[in-house]
């Protein structure tokens, strides 16, 4: 539970949605919203929103094992968007969620632009609070990152989904592309309301005895603290183009402490995603909330929104080499 003292500091508005905390639980890490409540002490009320697992039009069995593997300060995953399909999610899963506890965000995927539209259309006719367009999944053959790498395609997906819903649309950007800022610009034109920055980075691990990749899908998405510096920079780069349009960002990638979360807020995020860190500490959210609140008090700020984009860049910009 968020203490009454912290509540006014942490409560924030995101795309018109009321978030009890800037923390968003990330897609693919918390199933369909009820899995972590198995853990005593865990509560959906400790977070602003929960992104549900990536959902497609038809059910998907997902990839063969192994699907996860630890790497230095991170992990690879290639789940392959295992999900029961949008109709089961809308008709059987959403009715069991307690929408008084937090906001629930659908994470939608497709292998064609039309599939994205259809999935979005079905979620539009549901109690879901918002939709996140996943154009950055590195673990499926078609769609996913193939759309996210290409600003034209990204914009087409966003524009098409925009046609079928008024609910807040969050576009989840991939770090596996040359110019994330250009992509963001195009998605804003196409009508996105917000961004999620970043999805996982593509990676591989090899079993040297068998000389085969450890991950069944051969490659997987890298998450966890290892990707934090990349994610921070991308968040700031997207903020630079999104801020003038008042398009907010859910910063994410390796956040595992209040300090990490604060860095992302300073870099330009309005909310912060927590995924892989839950695997280490399922009860991390109250700690992050308390840490952010303490920081705000120490810096005499009255609300977390004041931190967003407060980055003070150094005067001299070196070449970075």
């Amino acid at each position: 539970m968020i203490t009454p003292d912290d509540e006014s500091l942490l409560r924030t508005e995101f795309c018109g949605l009321d978030f009890a905390s800037p923390i968003v639980l990330l897609s693919g890490c918390v199933g369909f919203g009820e899995e972590y409540s198995r853990v005593a002490g865990f509560s959906n009320t400790d977070v602003g929103a929960i992104c549900l697992k990536g959902t497609t039009l038809e059910p998907r069995p997902g990839n063969p094992p192994h699907r996860v593997f630890e790497t230095p300060m991170g992990m690879l995953n290639a789940i392959g968007l295992q999900n029961p399909g949008v109709d089961v999610v809308v008709n059987e899963i959403l009715p069991q969620l307690d929408f008084t506890e937090t906001r629930f965000i659908a994470n939608i995927s497709g292998s064609t632009v039309e599939e994205y539209r259809e999935v979005a259309r079905r979620f539009d006719d549901s109690p879901i609070d918002a939709m996140e367009i996943n154009i950055s999944c590195p673990n499926v053959k078609e769609g996913g990152v193939a759309f996210g790498n290409d600003p034209d395609m990204s914009a087409r997906v966003v524009a098409t989904v925009r046609e079928v819903t008024e609910k807040p649309l969050i576009t989840k950007l991939s770090p596996n592309q040359t110019d994330i800022a250009e992509n963001a610009r195009r998605c804003i034109e196409a009508g996105t309301d917000a961004f999620a920055v970043i999805n996982t980075l593509m990676g591989m691990a090899i079993d040297i005895e068998s000389r085969s990749p450890v991950i069944g899908n051969n490659q997987g998405g890298l998450s966890g603290p290892a990707i934090k510096p990349v994610a921070l920079l991308k968040t700031h780069q997207v903020w630079q183009v999104a801020h003038p349009h008042a398009v907010p960002i859910i910063g994410q990638g390796g956040i595992s402490s209040a300090e990490d979360a604060i860095e992302f807020l300073i870099a330009g995020a309005s909310a912060v995603g927590v995924g892989t860190a839950l695997f280490y500490d399922p009860l991390i959210c109250p700690k992050i909330n308390a840490g952010i609140a303490d920081y705000l008090r120490r810096h005499e700020m009255s609300n977390v929104a004041q931190l967003t984009g407060s980055l003070v860049l150094n005067e001299r910009q070196a070449c970075g080499c």
Partner: protein, 290 residues
């Protein structure tokens, strides 16, 4: 959907005792009262191995002592994570998440459970033996353990006669002997008193010594390396016995959130990828191995 709420506990568990055995095997006793009170045979704990390692490691539970609030683990070093866990000393604390998973289910119409454990698969079998002696003292179980590294306990000759077991195969695990549960050991390493062969070969001798009525009372429970489980499943199929196996897979969240630890399982609705952590780790052998 909320029925499962608050069933898994996160505890900072102090290591009370630690024993290193030959063959990179480690035994730990920790203080984890909530897990000790709720764990069942087959359930496991998800343990942090080091502050700089983002993934926990699933470790099966050997025994619980509810009154004392203590839990025993036995594990073998398998990779970097378990190697780090093996370095943890008495007095240090481990973050343990558990108990997790669907446990083994005993059935009163099958009062002759056959427990087959291989290598790292031994602990859940010991836990199950403990459950049998407490909850089903009328059952007539047999336990068979196999290992290709020295067994992580001091073997002793068993007092129990077991039908079908070759002469000279007398070594057992003292703990289960104390519980009045017959047990025999198998290995290809020529350890004294052990059956020289596979656990399934020894199990077959016992099954062949039972009459049809007795055989119809057998249910097989197993945990161990994948090839062994496959052989156990084949044996159970051959003798038309129900068989529950406990599986392992690389695991991230351990609470059903990420679908990282799946195995393919045959269901009434066709093949499905199911999570080892919360849909398992115990599955019907037929559903996994056909």
């Amino acid at each position: 959907m909320t029925a499962h709420r608050d069933t898994i506990f996160l505890e900072e568990a102090e290591i009370l005792e630690r024993v290193a055995w030959e063959g990179d095997q480690y035994w730990l006793k920790v203080k984890a009262p909530k897990m000790a009170a709720t764990a069942r045979a087959g359930s496991f704990a998800h343990i942090t191995v080091h502050p700089l390692r983002p993934m926990r490691r699933p470790v099966s539970i050997l025994r619980v002592h509810e009154a004392a609030g203590e839990v025993e683990f036995l594990f073998k070093v398998f990779g970097e994570g378990t190697a780090l866990l093996a370095e943890r000393q008495v007095g240090e604390t481990l973050s343990v998440l558990g108990p997790i998973g669907r446990p083994f289910a005993l059935h009163s119409e099958r009062p002759r459970p056959l427990l087959i454990g291989g290598g790292v698969g031994m602990p859940p079998m010991v836990f199950l033996a403990d459950e049998i002696r407490r909850q089903h003292p009328d059952f007539r179980p047999l336990m068979i353990l196999g290992s290709e590294v020295p067994f992580p306990f001091r073997m002793q000759p068993s007092e129990f006669l077991v039908p079908g077991i070759p002469e000279g195969v007398i070594a057992t695990l003292p703990l289960v002997e104390e519980w009045n549960i017959p047990c025999r050991l198998a290995s290809l390493q020529g350890y004294p008193g052990c059956f020289e062969g596979y656990v399934t070969d020894l199990a077959r001798r016992w099954l062949d010594a039972l009459d049809d009525d007795q055989c119809a009372e057998v249910e097989v429970f197993s945990c161990g390396p994948h090839p062994m489980l496959e052989a156990v499943a084949a044996l159970a199929r051959e003798y038309d016995l129900p068989c529950q196996v406990s599986l392992e897979e690389f695991m991230a969240c351990g609470v059903g959130g990420c679908a990282g630890c799946v195995v393919e399982v045959q269901t009434e609705d066709g093949p499905r990828m199911q999570r080892v952590c919360v849909d398992g780790p115990v599955f019907e052998a037929r559903a996994v191995f056909g």
